[in-house]
Amino acid sequence: MLIEELSRIPGVSGDETRVRNFIKEKLSAWGIKNETDSMGNLYAFKEGGKKNEEQGIMLVAHMDEVGLMVSSIEKSGHLRFYKVGGIYENTLVAKPVRIGPRDVYGVIGAKAIHLQKKDERKKALEVDKLYIDIGAKNREDAEKVVKIGDYATFYSEAVVSGDLLKGKALDDRAGCAALLEILQRDYPFSFTVVFSVQEEVGLRGARVAAYRLNPRVALVLETTGAADLPGVKEQDYSVSLGLGPALTIRDGSAVAHPRVLDRLISVAEEQKRPYQFRSFMGSFTDAGVISLSQSGVATGVISTPCRYIHSPVSLLNMQDWKHLVEITDSFLRSVHEKGLDV
Amino acid sequence: MKELIKKLSESFGPAGCENNVRSLISDEVKKLNFEHYVDTLGSLIVKVGSKGKQRIIIAAHMDEIGLMVTFIDENGFLRFTNIGGVLTSTLPGTKVLFQNGTVGVIGQEKIKEPKELDFSKLYIDIGASNRDEALEKVKIGHTAVFMPAFHQEGNRITSKSLDDRIGCFVLLEVLKRLPSSLPNRLYFVFTVQEEVGLRGAKTASYRLKPDYGLAVDVTRVGDTPEPDFKMVVSLGKGPAVKIKDSSVICHSRVVNLMIETAEKNQIPYQLEVLEQGGTDAGSIHLSREGVPSGVLSVPCRYIHTPAEMVDLEDVENSISLLVELCKTSW
């Protein structure tokens, strides 16, 4: 499945090349016109119906994932690193990573529990106490295969079992996969799909993409954190797995445009598809910058709920994802048929 | 049934001083005409059957936790230490009984915070007004147990030392119900000094060279308000088949046999993973070249307090399961 393949590709913010190339290949194979900009955003121009009848609709998902960047190399050959994007630090210890263009294997080590004093064991292991070990003998040895500035991603294989998908970078490869699914369908109208870069470091790619396209309506396909977990109060779940895609009312970066949100709700209900509202009002998505582009864009966000985002392995329900694709599909058709007064 | 449990649980038997319990049990065993003897450390060994292929130890411990006098002050107050896992929080205001019948009550020095409460802040008051008066009744090294107060409320009984007199009771009941011909050679062992390190079981299993071991003991539950949230065993849902505790990882052959036997005979059972605590199986399984061992646990609330609580239906089901296990070839 495309979603599994996409999950496996390394593509930390600022280093999305391999994700972009993978998507580009698919687009070219399907005969879809595409281009990139100077930041690396990838635009796919889906054409249908009468020529040049542009609906002014832009669909967006981001290609980048959170990851690490080599900041220095110790004399011993161990690599120190920065976090790229909001990685949950507590998940870093004892995880394997792949580094740089050569995909060098490394592991994130820390002092063995046997050697830690009692009070040491109680503290969180922050990035400044961690390092990547690639088995190098010393700094010179390490420099043969990695360099400062190399990006590193988590090494974990995507696996589908039944309705469940496990893997890294599902935020937001799930969104990318949904857009690729949409792009394979026929529509009697045209629209533009953007695979954006650098979402995780400040929504930077979508900002220039929105400026360039200056759309009327934008829909962001995201992957949002689900906290339906033990030890969490129900009011703090934000979203739950298996209850359908999540619609954003408001988050830390944008308020969903009411017409877009209403239309998403109405097509979901017409089709009897499950959906839920995201109840956590914090954090950011590309919608934040798109909605404020030029003289403003009517923007909505629909997300696949996903547990353990920004960690080595996240978990989502494929039924939620399929409903997200279908609601997006119906949304496009509905806007074409009935228009959207924004 | 109830009378014997009452007698067993009310008798005096802190670890190292199990003779009262042992005579009570050997009287019962004598009535049944089984061959039995006492080993070097004091465990009572009952031989059942002489023909079977497999030698199986079935053990329950006779000892209970208790207190031991370490010092008597000039005003006649007794200072003490623990025998086994006594919880200081259960002690203030509790009555204790010495082997000679002397009764004392535990008092507590003034403390600011509950966490300061340790054995050094506690003492036993036996009503003596000075050291000499106290010495007439109690000497240094004498031991005491919680004051017996057996009570039945519906199907549930509370008493001191159901850990593990209820196990002793289960073994005695099983002895009564066993058929004359058995596929195994069984050794019912009433062990000593379990509460201070599984000691009686260690020497008994070395002597007996068993092929398999089974301990019958109590286990903790998770069905009370705000319990240890990881524990799933409940009172009244049948005996528990132990998977592991901190002393033993039960052998899968024994675990599976216990589960199969329970299912075949429609005896309710539960599975038990105990994070902390040990049983005689911990000693038995490491004896000589290793002995595949398991544990049949009777669910019990408030373990190591003056009022341990078990459910009589669990006890009855434990007896049935053990009888069936004795009749099964291992």
Binding site: A227, V232, L241, I309, V313 | E275, P292
Partner: protein, 350 residues
């Protein structure tokens, strides 16, 4: 099978303490071409015999433990999440985001879940994760989970064997599968060497919960002398020199009260004579290895300890240098080749 593929496959066999059967089956097959006899004892210790030339030759026990630290399910929660306890000593902070395999009616995969950062309040953030905060998420509903998994189901860490630079490899359970690989290397070397001693190579069980396998296997074999092969802490940035031994500089010979002085001395002499790199370490009391059990078995067994340096012990990314393993195996083989009854008799004359 070469040592690398052996260890690769071996670390993919799940064998948490008390449940080592799968691991044992694989090891038995790999060792069979090099040994004269294979058997399993009551607790599951896997015992190989490589006979010596002389019927009355010394009887040597060499063991490495095949169990790995793991988890055990204690409870199934309302929504199908699983609570667990540990078999052996994990640092709970290494567990969030770790994939696992649960051994229920069939193998079920899961993730060790955690509360997402936005749920933490400020003062919780600096606090390390504790075991009780964690749970396993299979993604399945309670009904499905209950059909497959029960309290007592064991859980193994899922981690592939990772090839790093040079001879470095990382993975799970290298404590002490690296030691088992040392035993295999030793058996291979012995095939080409003449030796008087009868060698019992034992893959022990339940080391991580209290060296229980070594207790009973040593009793059962009653050897003249014993050597435990285990791992010791490798070097890492910020480590104190005395706590660690660098990787790639050869196996580590330990001395101290747990070790018979002649054993440490002889291992050192043999390494010197055959120009094998080695390192030395001291341990001030009973070591955290099978050696602690071997020494006090029966009437006392002269005991040695040989260790492979390993970084990040008790995590899923334990890291070793394959060369250290190979040399450790060779050192043991030469030690056995040089073993004569005189040395054994001398062990009682202190």
């Amino acid at each position: 099978m070469d040592l690398n593929s052996f260890l690769d496959e071996l670390t993919q066999k799940d064998g948490v303490s008390g449940y080592e059967e799968n691991t044992a089956d694989f090891i038995a097959e790999a060792f069979s071409p090099f040994v004269d006899d294979t058997r399993t004892d009551n607790l599951g210790n896997l015992i190989f015999l490589k006979k010596g030339k002389s019927e009355h030759g010394p009887r040597v026990l060499i063991c490495a433990h095949m169990d790995e630290i793991g988890l055990m399910i204690t409870k199934i929660e309302d929504k199908g999440f699983l609570r667990f306890t540990s078999l052996g000593g994990f640092d709970p902070r290494t567990l969030p985001g770790q994939e696992v395999r649960i051994y229920g009616k069939k193998i079920v995969e899961g993730i060790i879940g955690f509360k997402p950062p936005h749920i933490y309040n400020e003062n919780e953030k600096d606090k390390g994760v504790e075991m009780n905060d964690l749970f396993i998420d299979t993604g399945f509903s309670r009904e499905v989970v209950e059909g497959l998994i029960r309290p007592g189901s064991t859980v193994a860490i899922k981690r592939s064997f990772i090839t790093l630079m040079h001879n470095c490899r990382a993975g799970k359970a290298l404590d002490d599968r690296a030691g088992v690989a040392v035993l295999l290397q030793c058996a291979k070397e012995l095939a080409n060497l003449a030796h008087e001693a009868h060698v019992y190579l034992v893959a022990t069980v339940q080391e991580e919960v209290g060296t229980r396998g070594a207790v009973v296997s040593t009793y059962g074999l009653s050897p003249d002398l014993g050597i435990a092969v285990d791992v010791c802490h490798g070097d890492f940035p910020g480590a104190l020199d005395h706590e660690v031994s660098p990787l790639g500089k050869g196996p580590v010979i330990t001395a101290g009260p747990n070790i018979h002085p002649h054993m440490a001395e002889r291992l050192t002499t043999v390494a010197e004579e055959y120009c094998l790199p080695y390192q030395k370490d001291v341990s001030p009391g009973p070591t955290g290895t099978d050696a602690r059990a071997i020494q006090i078995s029966l009437g006392g067994i002269p005991t040695g300890l040989l260790s492979v340096p390993l970084r990040y012990m008790h995590t899923s990314v334990e890291l070793v240098d394959m060369q250290d393993i190979k040399i450790a195996g060779r050192l043991l083989a030469y030690f056995i080749m040089r073993l004569e009854s005189g040395f054994v008799e001398g062990l009682s004359c202190l």
